[in-house]
């Protein structure tokens, strides 16, 4: 592989990764997109999901993000994540519990605003669960 793309993953609390990689696959709101070197500049929103980092044909890193933004230039791919968690650190049982709790909260929600908030959280938790199950079958 000749050209590499500089991949940066940033959360509000810190800079998580900054490394040159061959390809990253980012879960955009309008579908996943892969970024190789020389990608056309673009800005996209990111839905809750998993970012795959490729080195050659191999995935070297999988990180769960709870939504955010991605900025792509020809040499760089910056993801501003709201929350980022390496896939290996996700505790399946805990997430299942979270989904259950949030579903209960959803039933208890009184106002529309409250409902929307819980729904958003639930979507994140569900995505996390999906990511966790996909991760465990892959390994």
């Amino acid at each position: 592989m000749a050209d590499k793309v500089e991949f940066e993953l940033v959360s509000p609390e810190k800079l998580l990764t900054s490394q040159p990689v061959d390809m990253v696959v980012v879960p955009g709101t309008e579908g996943d997109f892969g970024v190789l070197a020389g990608h056309a500049p673009m800005i996209s929103t990111v839905r809750p999901g998993v970012i795959d980092v490729y080195e050659g044909d191999r995935i070297i890193d999988r990180v769960f993000v709870a939504g955010g933004f991605a900025e792509v230039t020809e040499t760089r791919c910056t993801v501003l994540a709201e929350q980022a968690l390496p896939l290996a650190d996700i505790d399946r049982g805990k997430v299942e519990q979270e989904v259950k709790d949030l579903s209960e909260d959803l039933d208890d929600a009184k106002s529309d605003a409250e409902r929307a908030e819980v729904e958003a959280k639930l979507a994140v938790a569900r995505a996390k669960l999906d990511a966790a199950s996909a991760g465990s079958t892959a390994h």
């Binding site: 940066e8 940033v10 959360s11 509000p12 609390e13 810190k14 800079l15 955009g28 709101t29 309008e30 997109f33 056309a40 500049p41 673009m42 800005i43 996209s44 929103t45 933004f69 900025e71 230039t73 020809e74 910056t78 501003l80 709201e82 605003a113």
Partner: protein
Amino acid sequence: MPSLKDLKNRIASVQSTRKITSAMKMVAASKLRRAQEQAEASRPYAERMGRMLASLAANIQSGAGGPKLMTGTGSDQVQLLVVISSDRGLCGGFNGSIVREARRQIQRLQGEGKTVKVMTVGRKARDQLRRDYASLIIETYEDVGRRKLSFADADGIAKKVNEMYEAGEFDVCSVIYNKFKSVITQIVTVQQLIPLAVPDTAADDEASGEAKAIYEFEPDEEQILAELLPRNLSIQVYRALQESAASEQGARMTAMDNATRNAGDMINRLTLTYNRTRQAYITKELIEIISGAEAI
């Protein structure tokens, strides 16, 4: 003239005060380091957010009618002030200067015939502003980031501000906080959050060079901006809270350093008085014995 016992007690009490203040200084120093590290760690996010915002803004400026968070409501009648102070005292002029600035702003805005609403973060600002402006305070937060300042704390505050803005409860929002310059200097800063002042694209060369690139947007600009702006608000609040947290520890460290030094001086002075008094007593007793012996 105080008795020897009184002096001894005073010295002991000042000594224990000095122990406390020097311990507090040490604690503040270590907390300051942590706060600074945290502020450092969050800088990349804010920087990249600013860059993204600048390139978005450059793209959207041609089309009027951007999101309200950026363009404002077209009025500045109702002003919201977010005052960030600490929860605890003993940190020199830290809270005093914040509250003074808040008062000045409130008076200025009221003088211009505007309606002012106040939101306080931290117990001290609430306590001090409540005396004169109790009716203006609409929301207070306490114990924000007591153990460790997290982004969720800032996000909560920003969400509330955004909600109120959407509901049309105010037109302009500013935040008043202490900006950390160095351990001994904190600068009281008033920063306008809504409507947002778009960072100047031409400000630094690297950024302007990249901003010229034509971006594709997915989904379209407006939708991204609609999501990015509330996020940016949270980031700004987060930054203000971090600056304030670092400033608080810096101010406390300096205040406690001074207190420790003053206590040291006081101990020296008291010890001197103690020794003089002791000598005076001895001399007096000697004179009594000698004059008694002479009388016989």
